[in-house]
Subunit: 188 residues, 2 copies
DNA sequence: ATATTTATAGACCAACCAGTCTATAATGCC
DNA sequence: GGCATTATAGACTGGTTGGTCTATAAATAT
């Protein structure tokens, strides 16, 4: 890992553990094994670091969703895959998932233009839009379905981390969760 | 409003606008029209204030849900009423709703015992538990249904504030949102 | 009336921390 | 080899801020 990556990884861990405020830049630098000046060489301000971290995670996430979207599957399969992937990603990257939420409920969010924010959902959008047009999904606005989709991922995630399940149980819950989501959004 | 209430109201507004860190206690005191010492008389520390505010909102919210639960209605009606109420409450008290989320994704949450956290959902729990037992709701764990319920409220809320609807449209969306939630959780 | 408790005020300070500054080291380029 | 750029280091500081302290005023009890 380059020094910059070390800074990012350490910042992510500390921001999640202690909050933006609770994490001095000096502590990030120290735990990343770099000097104070190095941190400010790579990021002009602390805020820059906070925002860069957010964008990095969102871009990474958007790219993975895009990969699913680009596959040559039926829409319904894509829809399901995105859901399953999203839940698993959240479970396997709790820090990142938490960081995104934390960021979204902070004044830092105002640093991200609405356009950029929308770009992070472009993969979802395409699939859901297609689903609605092909009358596989309810005739509701795409952004409403996306909101519900996200709310649902969030709900299942909360439930799974609040308890401690075996892998098999966990998988069943995710599948059941998907079936419930599908009951909710499918065209009838 | 007593001085203490002025402090609370001002703190809520400023914390939501500028974050916990971005809000000095001196600013809260000044804008509340009280002296610095007064703030620290009522709250031993800044953290105390942050936590007290959270508990106050949650208690208020829990009491209102409880009022719905205590009504002599069918379970399905109660379930619906709680949903409609929750969404409307969030819309009419955006600061409070945002504050709760902000708090939940902050290190301050660790100040709240799991027991206390659970207590805030006791109203929901009773209704959903009854719904499951009477086979009106799917045979899934109560806490999973609660998670999904909350996720759904959150999703609808996000959608409604991201756009600017007429009251009539808004009501329709909430109702449609409820129907979708019901499709998801109803026993079949 | 007097004593005690509660509430308010505002000056003050010690600690902390984001960001600066200067000095090198490494890397790439001609 | 020398020149420029990039990367790293770490000491230093000025402004900020949570919390303390002391002094009163208001309310309550005896």
């Amino acid at each position: 890992m380059s020094k910059q990556e070390q800074i990012q990884a350490t910042a992510l861990r500390l921001f999640v553990a202690d909050g933006f405020h609770g994490t001095p830049t000096a502590k990030i630098a120290a735990q990343a094994g770099v000097a104070n000046g190095t941190l400010f060489y790579h990021y002009k301000t602390k805020e820059d670091l906070v925002v860069a971290l957010y964008n990095k995670i969102q871009d990474e996430q958007a790219a993975n969703v895009q990969a699913i979207v680009n596959k040559d599957d039926f829409v319904s399969i894509k829809f399901r895959n995105i859901f399953i992937y999203s839940v698993n990603w959240a479970l396997n990257n709790r820090d990142k998932f938490y960081y995104i939420q934390q960021f979204k409920f902070s004044p830092h969010l105002s640093q991200i233009s609405p356009q950029t924010q929308q770009q992070h959902t472009v993969g979802y959008f395409a699939v859901i839009d297609e689903g609605i047009r092909k009358k596989l999904l309810k005739q509701q606005p795409v952004s409403l379905i996306i909101s519900m989709f996200n709310g649902h991922v969030y709900g299942i995630y909360q439930y799974l981390i609040a308890n401690d399940f075996e892998p098999a149980e966990k998988e069943k819950i995710i599948n059941d969760g998907y079936e419930m989501l599908w009951d909710m959004v499918k065209y009838m």
